[in-house]
Protein backbone atom coordinates (compact mmCIF):
# COMPACT_ATOMS: atom_id res chain seq x y z
CA UNK A 1 0.00 0.00 0.00
CA UNK A 2 1.62 3.15 -1.17
CA UNK A 3 -0.99 5.75 -0.54
CA UNK A 4 -0.16 9.36 -0.04
CA UNK A 5 -0.66 10.21 3.68
CA UNK A 6 -3.28 12.82 2.89
CA UNK A 7 -5.25 10.33 0.82
CA UNK A 8 -5.03 7.77 3.61
CA UNK A 9 -6.18 10.23 6.25
CA UNK A 10 -9.10 11.44 4.16
CA UNK A 11 -10.01 7.82 3.44
CA UNK A 12 -10.09 7.05 7.16
CA UNK A 13 -12.20 10.16 7.82
CA UNK A 14 -14.59 9.14 5.06
CA UNK A 15 -14.94 5.61 6.41
CA UNK A 16 -15.67 6.88 9.91
CA UNK A 17 -18.16 9.42 8.60
CA UNK A 18 -20.01 6.79 6.55
CA UNK A 19 -20.15 4.47 9.56
CA UNK A 20 -21.67 7.25 11.66
CA UNK A 21 -24.12 8.09 8.88
CA UNK A 22 -25.23 4.47 8.56
CA UNK A 23 -25.70 4.26 12.30
CA UNK A 24 -27.73 7.45 12.53
CA UNK A 25 -29.96 6.15 9.74
CA UNK A 26 -30.61 2.65 11.03
CA UNK A 27 -30.71 3.16 14.78
CA UNK A 28 -33.86 3.90 16.73
CA UNK A 29 -32.37 4.38 20.18
CA UNK A 30 -31.88 8.10 20.47
CA UNK A 31 -28.67 7.91 22.51
CA UNK A 32 -27.09 5.84 19.76
CA UNK A 33 -28.13 8.47 17.26
CA UNK A 34 -26.40 11.12 19.37
CA UNK A 35 -23.26 8.96 19.52
CA UNK A 36 -23.37 8.59 15.74
CA UNK A 37 -23.52 12.35 15.33
CA UNK A 38 -20.43 12.52 17.56
CA UNK A 39 -18.67 10.00 15.31
CA UNK A 40 -19.52 12.07 12.25
CA UNK A 41 -18.29 15.30 13.84
CA UNK A 42 -15.10 13.58 14.87
CA UNK A 43 -14.53 12.32 11.31
CA UNK A 44 -15.08 15.81 9.95
CA UNK A 45 -12.53 17.19 12.41
CA UNK A 46 -10.04 14.51 11.39
CA UNK A 47 -10.49 15.54 7.76
CA UNK A 48 -9.82 19.17 8.71
CA UNK A 49 -6.60 18.28 10.54
CA UNK A 50 -5.41 16.11 7.66
CA UNK A 51 -6.03 18.98 5.26
CA UNK A 52 -4.17 21.34 7.60
CA UNK A 53 -1.15 19.05 7.62
CA UNK A 54 -1.33 18.72 3.85
CA UNK A 55 -1.03 22.43 3.19
CA UNK A 56 0.89 23.35 6.33
CA UNK A 57 -1.73 25.93 7.27
CA UNK A 58 -3.18 26.36 10.75
CA UNK A 59 -6.75 26.97 9.59
CA UNK A 60 -7.74 23.32 9.66
CA UNK A 61 -6.66 22.91 13.25
CA UNK A 62 -8.52 26.07 14.21
CA UNK A 63 -11.63 24.56 12.62
CA UNK A 64 -11.00 21.36 14.58
CA UNK A 65 -11.07 23.35 17.81
CA UNK A 66 -14.33 25.00 16.78
CA UNK A 67 -15.81 21.60 15.97
CA UNK A 68 -14.71 20.40 19.40
CA UNK A 69 -16.45 23.31 21.15
CA UNK A 70 -19.55 22.86 19.04
CA UNK A 71 -19.65 19.15 19.85
CA UNK A 72 -19.48 19.93 23.56
CA UNK A 73 -22.36 22.41 23.35
CA UNK A 74 -24.35 20.08 21.11
CA UNK A 75 -23.96 17.05 23.35
CA UNK A 76 -25.01 18.94 26.47
CA UNK A 77 -28.19 20.27 24.84
CA UNK A 78 -28.84 16.89 23.22
CA UNK A 79 -28.54 15.06 26.52
CA UNK A 80 -30.92 17.52 28.17
CA UNK A 81 -33.41 16.92 25.35
CA UNK A 82 -33.07 13.15 25.73
CA UNK A 83 -33.64 13.54 29.47
CA UNK A 84 -36.85 15.45 28.85
CA UNK A 85 -37.96 12.90 26.26
CA UNK A 86 -37.29 10.07 28.67
CA UNK A 87 -39.20 11.75 31.45
CA UNK A 88 -42.17 12.54 29.23
CA UNK A 89 -42.43 9.28 27.32
CA UNK A 90 -40.55 6.74 29.45
CA UNK A 91 -38.71 5.43 26.43
CA UNK A 92 -35.67 6.17 24.31
CA UNK A 93 -37.28 5.19 21.03
CA UNK A 94 -36.92 8.08 18.62
CA UNK A 95 -40.09 7.14 16.73
CA UNK A 96 -42.10 7.81 19.84
CA UNK A 97 -41.07 11.44 19.67
CA UNK A 98 -43.03 11.87 16.45
CA UNK A 99 -46.20 12.24 18.48
CA UNK A 100 -44.88 15.14 20.51
CA UNK A 101 -47.52 17.69 21.27
CA UNK A 102 -47.07 20.81 23.21
Amino acid sequence: MNLHPTTAGLLLAGILFVLGLISVLIRRNIIFMLLSVEIMLNAAGLAFVVAASHWGQADGQVMFMFILAMAAAEVSVGLALILQLYHQLRTLDSDEASRMNG
Partner: protein, 176 residues
Protein backbone atom coordinates in the same frame (compact mmCIF):
# COMPACT_ATOMS: atom_id res chain seq x y z
CA UNK B 1 2.15 5.98 5.08
CA UNK B 2 3.74 4.42 8.09
CA UNK B 3 2.82 1.46 10.22
CA UNK B 4 1.67 3.57 13.19
CA UNK B 5 -1.02 5.21 11.11
CA UNK B 6 -2.21 1.87 9.75
CA UNK B 7 -2.51 0.28 13.19
CA UNK B 8 -4.33 3.28 14.67
CA UNK B 9 -6.65 3.54 11.67
CA UNK B 10 -7.52 -0.14 11.83
CA UNK B 11 -8.27 0.14 15.54
CA UNK B 12 -10.40 3.23 14.93
CA UNK B 13 -12.46 1.55 12.21
CA UNK B 14 -12.85 -1.69 14.18
CA UNK B 15 -13.92 0.14 17.34
CA UNK B 16 -16.38 2.31 15.39
CA UNK B 17 -17.90 -0.75 13.75
CA UNK B 18 -18.32 -2.26 17.20
CA UNK B 19 -19.96 0.99 18.37
CA UNK B 20 -22.62 0.92 15.70
CA UNK B 21 -23.30 -2.81 16.03
CA UNK B 22 -23.56 -2.93 19.82
CA UNK B 23 -26.93 -3.30 21.49
CA UNK B 24 -25.75 -2.39 24.97
CA UNK B 25 -25.12 1.32 25.39
CA UNK B 26 -22.27 0.92 27.85
CA UNK B 27 -20.33 -1.40 25.56
CA UNK B 28 -20.83 1.07 22.74
CA UNK B 29 -19.52 3.91 24.89
CA UNK B 30 -16.48 1.87 25.86
CA UNK B 31 -15.69 1.20 22.21
CA UNK B 32 -16.36 4.81 21.30
CA UNK B 33 -13.75 5.95 23.81
CA UNK B 34 -11.28 3.54 22.19
CA UNK B 35 -12.19 4.92 18.78
CA UNK B 36 -11.56 8.47 19.93
CA UNK B 37 -8.19 7.49 21.42
CA UNK B 38 -7.26 5.86 18.12
CA UNK B 39 -8.23 9.01 16.24
CA UNK B 40 -6.04 10.95 18.68
CA UNK B 41 -3.07 8.74 17.72
CA UNK B 42 -3.89 9.36 14.06
CA UNK B 43 -3.86 13.10 14.72
CA UNK B 44 -0.48 12.71 16.39
CA UNK B 45 0.90 10.95 13.33
CA UNK B 46 -0.34 13.87 11.24
CA UNK B 47 1.84 16.32 13.08
CA UNK B 48 -0.85 17.81 15.32
CA UNK B 49 0.06 16.77 18.87
CA UNK B 50 -1.89 19.63 20.41
CA UNK B 51 -5.04 18.54 18.62
CA UNK B 52 -4.42 14.95 19.76
CA UNK B 53 -4.25 16.12 23.37
CA UNK B 54 -7.42 18.18 22.93
CA UNK B 55 -9.16 15.19 21.41
CA UNK B 56 -8.27 13.04 24.41
CA UNK B 57 -9.12 15.69 26.99
CA UNK B 58 -12.35 17.04 25.54
CA UNK B 59 -13.79 14.20 23.48
CA UNK B 60 -12.61 11.10 25.31
CA UNK B 61 -12.56 12.86 28.65
CA UNK B 62 -15.28 15.44 29.03
CA UNK B 63 -17.92 14.50 26.47
CA UNK B 64 -17.70 10.75 26.99
CA UNK B 65 -17.80 11.11 30.77
CA UNK B 66 -20.85 13.35 30.38
CA UNK B 67 -22.63 10.73 28.28
CA UNK B 68 -21.61 7.88 30.58
CA UNK B 69 -22.89 9.73 33.65
CA UNK B 70 -26.07 10.55 31.79
CA UNK B 71 -26.66 6.92 30.81
CA UNK B 72 -25.97 5.77 34.33
CA UNK B 73 -28.32 8.44 35.66
CA UNK B 74 -31.18 7.39 33.40
CA UNK B 75 -31.62 3.84 34.57
CA UNK B 76 -31.83 4.30 38.26
CA UNK B 77 -33.48 1.43 40.04
CA UNK B 78 -33.02 -1.79 41.85
CA UNK B 79 -31.74 -3.64 38.83
CA UNK B 80 -28.93 -1.16 38.30
CA UNK B 81 -26.46 -3.15 40.34
CA UNK B 82 -27.27 -6.34 38.47
CA UNK B 83 -26.89 -4.49 35.18
CA UNK B 84 -23.58 -3.13 36.38
CA UNK B 85 -22.43 -6.60 37.30
CA UNK B 86 -23.56 -7.99 33.98
CA UNK B 87 -22.00 -5.15 32.02
CA UNK B 88 -18.57 -5.33 33.57
CA UNK B 89 -17.68 -8.95 33.00
CA UNK B 90 -14.09 -9.43 31.83
CA UNK B 91 -15.26 -10.70 28.46
CA UNK B 92 -16.60 -7.22 27.78
CA UNK B 93 -13.73 -4.98 28.66
CA UNK B 94 -10.89 -7.22 27.56
CA UNK B 95 -11.02 -6.30 23.86
CA UNK B 96 -11.18 -2.52 24.49
CA UNK B 97 -8.38 -3.05 27.01
CA UNK B 98 -6.21 -4.74 24.41
CA UNK B 99 -6.96 -1.93 21.94
CA UNK B 100 -6.02 0.67 24.54
CA UNK B 101 -2.76 -1.08 25.42
CA UNK B 102 -1.84 -1.25 21.72
CA UNK B 103 -2.63 2.45 21.32
CA UNK B 104 -0.63 3.40 24.42
CA UNK B 105 2.36 1.38 23.23
CA UNK B 106 2.10 3.01 19.84
CA UNK B 107 1.90 6.49 21.31
CA UNK B 108 4.89 5.85 23.57
CA UNK B 109 6.80 4.46 20.59
CA UNK B 110 5.98 7.54 18.54
CA UNK B 111 6.91 9.95 21.32
CA UNK B 112 10.14 8.22 22.29
CA UNK B 113 11.22 7.82 18.70
CA UNK B 114 10.90 11.59 18.14
CA UNK B 115 11.10 11.39 14.41
CA UNK B 116 9.77 13.56 11.66
CA UNK B 117 6.39 12.71 10.13
CA UNK B 118 6.40 10.90 6.83
CA UNK B 119 6.76 12.73 3.56
CA UNK B 120 3.78 14.69 2.39
CA UNK B 121 2.87 15.87 5.90
CA UNK B 122 3.77 19.31 7.12
CA UNK B 123 3.84 19.86 10.84
CA UNK B 124 1.74 22.80 12.00
CA UNK B 125 3.12 23.99 15.34
CA UNK B 126 0.65 24.97 18.08
CA UNK B 127 2.08 28.48 18.08
CA UNK B 128 0.87 29.00 14.53
CA UNK B 129 -2.56 27.71 15.52
CA UNK B 130 -2.70 30.14 18.42
CA UNK B 131 -1.63 33.04 16.22
CA UNK B 132 -4.37 32.17 13.73
CA UNK B 133 -6.91 31.62 16.50
CA UNK B 134 -6.47 35.03 18.08
CA UNK B 135 -5.67 36.87 14.87
CA UNK B 136 -8.00 36.40 11.91
CA UNK B 137 -10.34 34.06 13.76
CA UNK B 138 -10.96 36.27 16.76
CA UNK B 139 -14.64 36.85 16.01
CA UNK B 140 -15.17 33.12 15.53
CA UNK B 141 -13.63 32.54 18.97
CA UNK B 142 -16.04 35.05 20.47
CA UNK B 143 -18.94 33.39 18.69
CA UNK B 144 -17.81 30.02 20.04
CA UNK B 145 -17.91 31.48 23.52
CA UNK B 146 -21.45 32.70 22.91
CA UNK B 147 -22.36 29.27 21.56
CA UNK B 148 -21.04 27.57 24.69
CA UNK B 149 -22.93 30.03 26.87
CA UNK B 150 -26.11 29.33 24.94
CA UNK B 151 -25.43 25.62 25.30
CA UNK B 152 -25.11 25.93 29.06
CA UNK B 153 -28.29 27.98 29.40
CA UNK B 154 -30.19 25.74 27.01
CA UNK B 155 -29.09 22.57 28.76
CA UNK B 156 -30.10 24.02 32.12
CA UNK B 157 -33.45 25.14 30.79
CA UNK B 158 -34.25 21.87 29.04
CA UNK B 159 -32.96 19.57 31.73
CA UNK B 160 -34.76 21.28 34.56
CA UNK B 161 -37.32 19.14 36.31
CA UNK B 162 -40.64 20.69 37.00
CA UNK B 163 -41.55 20.31 40.62
CA UNK B 164 -44.20 17.68 40.95
CA UNK B 165 -45.09 18.31 44.58
CA UNK B 166 -46.08 21.77 45.60
CA UNK B 167 -46.11 23.00 49.12
CA UNK B 168 -48.63 21.03 51.12
CA UNK B 169 -50.77 24.09 51.74
CA UNK B 170 -51.00 24.77 48.03
CA UNK B 171 -51.52 21.09 47.33
CA UNK B 172 -54.49 21.02 49.71
CA UNK B 173 -55.88 24.08 48.04
CA UNK B 174 -55.49 22.45 44.64
CA UNK B 175 -57.26 19.30 45.71
CA UNK B 176 -60.25 21.12 47.10
Amino acid sequence: MDIAFIVAALIAVAATVRVITCYNIMHALLYLVVSLLAVAVVLYTYGAPFMAVLEIIIYAGAIMVLIIFFVMMLNLGLETAEHEKAWLRPRIWIVPGIFCVVLLAELLYLILQNRQPSAGIQVVPPKQVGMALFGPYLIAVELTGILLMAGIVGAYHLGRQHKKTLHRFLENNLNT
